[in-house]
């Protein structure tokens, strides 16, 4: 049985030998061109003049196109058709592509792109949420408001009210492989695009539209990405469309990869949020009501901002039963990069909001922050009377009560808390702090129709299996997990399964590999395809041996039928000789979900995934610098398809979440130009930032929902475990004030921010 084995990543051997190919590694035909965009350095304005003669004259340049030169309008938006490939008349952010250069080398294209004479008459730029609110610059006309009960009345009647504001910064994806795409023009106008994308089908649609071709004439392929994290869900569209448009115009293959600085300047990031909160608690520590106001900075175009902001609202309860709740969500349009999907897709911001409320209330009530949280947890599975979320979904699979207890026991919480307090009392410069964060994350696309997947499986007469599905591989190990599912269905070793590149010509009409859904959806589709072929083979062997099909057993690389034992290859050959089809498609759609977005009610999620983390830090009051001393994590991956890959997701997700909330700071200047556009100024976690002691374990247990082998999605949920580091920093900062003042630490809690908070404590 290959399922649940901790096997290495499918491409591990290729990666360690440098043989794995990314888009930029694919050999090009001799006459290929390289593309680069020319960018606006003005955040908002009217293009008065664009003189491209120096660009055209630059060495190696073959083609230069601005918006007016395109054969037809080219849109690269994933949603509202509001993102022209190249700026049309106006520029809407600093970094927006205005023209595209095609040259004989990557460097020649980049050099030429800087030679344009672009004159922009500036218009007032809206950069902050305050400016956007004041100007009424927003999507959807007004805020989206969901009410459960009367939150204001509940808060007014409560024993204790806490209120405040939490600023949450954005986050650059910093996939190590920058955005890249390659277009190979074919005969009769066909276009083959190879792209680093989480969403080949969307790339296919955008390219087909831009070229004026039916979708059937555009084929999009992706073998792997060097990291995605949501940043390649929609943000690769521009490159793919650009290479296809220029390939169509010139008849030559075209490739484009963003230089890292361009990648920072052009592409969207995680949405930064400001969350205003008011919450009422009883003296018993039970929450009575909460009112949130989410100010979401969406950037210049709609992109995926509406579902991101929705998901933030859907996670504003996190793990807690909240009798009355009001959430007001403002989706604000600004002259900055169009904020986009990023691991968690708004969920982390929603969760961080309620975790701040819990932390603040625990401080005000003088209760242990973990104790306060546990008092407010949803009813534990199996609950005789399940709670409902504010949006009306029954919480039937909640396990954070038991999981938290196990985590705290294993991490020796009570003793450490006391030891830290004693240690702090003897320190002048340093304070340690400890913080906890649980996560309950809803699994399914909230746009219900996206919860579908397809697969294509062939069995050859030598017993080898060709596997294809709609999911994309970005390092998360999806391909390996799905191959393990296929191998288990046929009872063959995983080595017999050949994983192949995601390809719109093999499996059409796919959803993005996003929302943590990759293995849930594609694993089921692959299982269905394999089961179909296996049933056909079993039927044939059963008729040969005068037995029933269910008496044919596929295991250990062999097929047992009656008294005969065949190798899988022999069984496949027999089926072929019996004129049995050994190729099948598989399809899956998630059952039981229904979501009314307008009313904010229904069951958007098939199930919930859980986890909890305890983080300890030490802070230096003289500099604001800090270290993570220890992190303990217990995470729920259901019955894991591959524990090694799942633990990798948890470790990586936690560190990425910590990065978001601590060191990763995006800074725009007053003119709206992003000043942190390289790793020299934008600090993602490095080797020294990881916790000195790092204990990560899976919380074992089958998913009560009928997922693939009862596993659970694990891509996004662990990112929110990083919130425990923000809570730990808050705890350490509070210790400098003797616990009198609540630190109200914003994120990212850079050393500067921590230092300022420490100064506030010391008054």
């Amino acid at each position: 049985m290959s399922v649940a084995d901790p096997l290495p990543h499918d491409s591990a051997r290729l990666h360690v030998t440098g043989a794995a190919r990314y888009v930029d590694d694919i050999p090009l035909p001799a006459n290929a061109l390289h593309l680069a965009f020319g960018l606006s350095d003005v955040a908002h304005g009217v293009i008065e003049a664009l003189d491209l003669s120096a660009v055209r004259a630059s060495d190696g340049v073959v083609e230069v196109l601005a918006a007016g030169d395109l054969a037809r309008p080219a849109d690269v938006s994933p949603s509202a058709h509001d993102e022209p490939l190249l700026a049309e008349g106006r520029v809407h952010y600093a970094g927006q592509p205005v023209f595209v250069v095609a040259a004989t080398s990557h460097r020649a294209a980049r050099v030429a792109a800087r030679r344009a004479a672009l004159r922009v008459a500036p218009l007032p730029a809206i950069l902050t949420v305050d400016e956007a609110l004041a100007a009424g610059s927003r999507f959807e006309g007004g805020p989206v408001v969901w009410d459960k009960g009367d939150a204001e009345a509940a808060i007014a009647a409560a024993d204790l009210v806490v209120e405040g504001t939490l600023e949450l910064g954005g986050q650059e994806h910093f996939y190590l492989e920058g955005q890249a795409a390659l277009a190979l023009p074919g005969e009769g106008g066909e276009m083959h695009v190879i792209a680093s994308t989480q969403h080949p089908t969307e790339v296919q649609h955008k390219v087909a539209h831009a070229l004026g071709l039916p979708q059937a004439m555009v084929r999009v392929e992706c073998r792997r990405m060097g990291g995605g994290f949501g940043g390649k869900e929609s943000q690769g569209n521009a490159l793919a469309v650009a290479v296809a448009v220029v390939a169509q115009a010139t008849g030559r293959p075209c490739k484009m990869r963003y230089d890292r600085d361009d990648d920072f300047l052009i592409t969207g990031k995680r949405h930064d949020f400001r969350i205003d909160y008011r919450a009422g608690f009883g003296r018993d520590g039970r929450i009575r009501g909460v009112a949130f106001r989410h100010l979401v900075r969406c950037g210049w175009s709609q992109d995926l901002s509406l579902p991101v902001a929705d998901r933030a609202m859907l996670h504003a309860d996190n793990a807690y039963r909240i009798p009355a709740m009001r959430i007001e969500s403002h989706r604000l349009r600004t002259n900055t990069q169009s904020a986009t999907a990023f691991r968690g897709f708004g969920g982390p911001q929603g969760v961080a909001g309620i975790e701040r409320v819990m932390d603040h209330a625990a401080h005000a009530l003088g209760l242990d922050p973990i104790e306060l949280r546990r008092r407010n947890y949803y009813a534990e599975m199996p609950a005789p009377r399940p709670d409902r979320t504010p949006y009306g979904q029954e919480v039937r699979d909640f396990i954070l009560g038991g999981l938290t207890e196990k985590l705290l026991d294993g991490a020796d919480y009570a003793a450490r808390r006391a030891e830290i307090a004693a240690w702090n009392a003897g320190q002048r410069v340093l304070r340690r702090g400890i913080g906890f964060a649980p996560v309950k994350f809803g699994i399914s696309f909230t746009l219900s129709h996206l919860n579908q997947a397809g697969a294509l499986v062939h069995v050859y007469t030598d017993g080898s299996v060709h596997l294809n599905h709609g999911g994309t591989e970005m390092g998360q190990g999806l391909f390996q997990k799905v191959a393990q599912v296929a191998a288990a269905e046929f009872g063959v070793p995983v080595s017999a399964v050949r994983i192949t590149a995601t390809d719109t010509a093999k499996v059409p009409n796919t959803s993005a590999t996003a929302a943590s859904s990759g293995s849930d959806l594609n694993g089921m589709a692959v299982q269905a395809a394999c089961a179909e072929i296996r049933a056909r083979m079993a039927g044939h062997l059963a008729s040969l041996h005068q037995i029933t099909p269910d008496a044919v057993v596929f295991a250990g690389g062999a097929v047992q039928a009656g008294g005969a034992r065949y190798s899988f290859a022999e069984a496949a050959t027999l089926a072929w000789q019996g004129r049995v089809s050994l190729s099948a498609t598989g399809f899956y759609r998630t059952p039981d979900i229904a979501w009314d977005r307008a009313r904010g009610e229904g069951r958007p999620f098939y199930y919930f995934a859980h986890g909890a983390a305890l983080t300890e830090v030490v802070v230096d009051r003289l500099t604001g610098e800090y270290r993570i001393l220890r992190a303990d994590i217990l995470h729920d991956a259901g019955a894991s398809l591959n524990p090694a890959l799942d633990i990798g997701q948890i470790e990586g997700g936690y560190v990425q979440g910590v990065g978001w909330l601590t060191t990763e700071e995006l800074v725009w200047d007053n003119a709206g130009r992003l000043r942190t556009h390289a790793p020299s100024t934008y600090k993602i976690p490095a080797f020294g930032d990881r916790p000195a002691v790092f204990n990560v374990a899976l919380h074992q247990g089958a998913n009560p929902a009928a997922t693939i082998h009862r596993s659970k999605a694990v891509g996004e949920p662990p990112l929110m475990l990083g919130i425990s580091a923000l809570m730990a920093l808050s705890d350490a900062v509070a210790a400098f004030g003797g616990g009198r003042v609540y630190p109200a630490l914003d994120a990212p809690a850079t050393p500067e921010r921590v230092l300022a908070a420490v100064e506030r404590m010391r008054g």
Partner: protein, 157 residues
């Protein structure tokens, strides 16, 4: 144009390239050794690390002409006769990778580090591994399994 001669993975190569050609470009574009990756273009992420005369170098920081006459080893030159280098085996066995893009640079840095510490008779502690790898960025793994991989390889080398 510069005439550049060097030994790459044991083979003598000679090319005429523009003066400004970076070693990373030379390896990738001219020799088609694409296992050396370019992650940041500015010498910070470490995905492009190769060995030049036995020392780890970020190949996007060095001109190809600057490596004239040198012996260069890339990730493709590490395995011998199909047998993986112990560092490669360790990354495979310890799940020291996810998307794989940083992996060649990590492995080349790791090999250099272990060899240096062994030559100098110094103990390669976990803290030392972390310090040595400050110039290599990974966005996927959280680094835990990369440190484990290098510790494991150090024991095998």
């Amino acid at each position: 144009m510069a005439q550049v001669s060097m030994t790459v993975n044991g083979k003598a190569v000679k090319r005429s390239v523009p003066d400004t050609t970076l070693l990373s470009e030379f390896l990738r574009e001219h020799l088609r050794l694409t296992g050396t990756h370019v992650g940041c273009d500015t010498s910070q992420c470490g995905a492009c690390v190769v060995h030049v005369d036995g020392r780890a170098v970020k190949s996007c920081t060095m001109l190809a002409a600057g490596a004239d006459g040198a012996s260069v080893v890339t990730i493709e030159g590490l395995a011998k006769d199909g047998a993986l280098h112990p560092m490669q085996t360790a990354f495979n066995d310890n799940h020291g990778l996810q998307c794989g893009f940083c992996t060649p640079g990590m492995i080349m840095s790791g090999v250099d580090m272990v060899a240096r510490y062994k030559a100098e008779g110094r103990e390669l502690t976990e803290a030392a591994i972390r310090h040595e790898l400050e110039g290599n960025i990974c966005r996927c793994t959280g680094y835990h399994n990369i440190v484990k991989s290098i510790q494991d390889a150090a024991a095998r080398m």
